[in-house]
Homo-oligomer: 119 residues x 2
């Protein structure tokens, strides 16, 4: 059973659409794609994604991430929540720690959408 368009996550919305440069984007499509772009349109969140992606084993726990910024722990938690909800970061709780890992497909689809052409 396929999902209604309105139920699509931002990641699914990006994956389903034509490149931005090939045909005009509908208002609805834009509204579904933008949350994913907004998610990385912040210096802290962009660095978080980069930190997680380049971390050993492709995952990092919150404690590691907190130390990388001069920001309060709730603020980092807030940004991680946004990244998780938009589908860019996956969460896994192991014991007391929570590990985040990037959803490579999300970034790849977004890149494809912007680049217009992809392999």
């Amino acid at each position: 059973m396929s999902k209604s368009v309105l139920e699509l996550t931002p990641v699914e919305a990006v994956a389903c659409c034509s490149p931005v440069t090939s045909e005009p984007l509908s208002a609805e499509a834009a509204d579904r794609i933008v949350p994913l772009v907004k998610a990385i349109a912040d210096p802290v969140r962009l660095r978080l994604v980069s930190l997680v992606a380049s971390h050993a084993d492709g995952e990092a726990c919150v404690c590691d991430l907190n130390d990388a910024f001069d920001l309060s722990q709730p603020t980092i938690s807030h940004h991680l929540k946004l990244l998780h909800e938009s589908g860019i970061l996956d969460r896994e709780k192991r014991g007391v720690w929570v590990y985040y890992r990037v959803n490579a497909g999300a970034l790849r689809d977004l890149a494809a959408l912007l680049g217009g052409v992809t392999a």
Copy 2:
């Protein structure tokens, strides 16, 4: 003579950097990249880019763009200014009309930065 890092436009900043997923992004690099991402992190601006890119001859005048939205002319002008200043859209005035065209390199570099790997 090469430019100081602080003089780099967002587009140049994106073009010079490693993919987000290969190594941690410095705070400075993030601050230089984010303006470009922010520029397309709005449904109206994303559609504007898409409209211009997919328009005949790869360019569109403001009059065409205004008609595509239920927004005031100053609002569209404001968004176009942002897209132009961030380096995503190029401007050319011909007579009474102003034509915008996408800077394909900017989108391609941004896509490469996000995708991590590119051809």
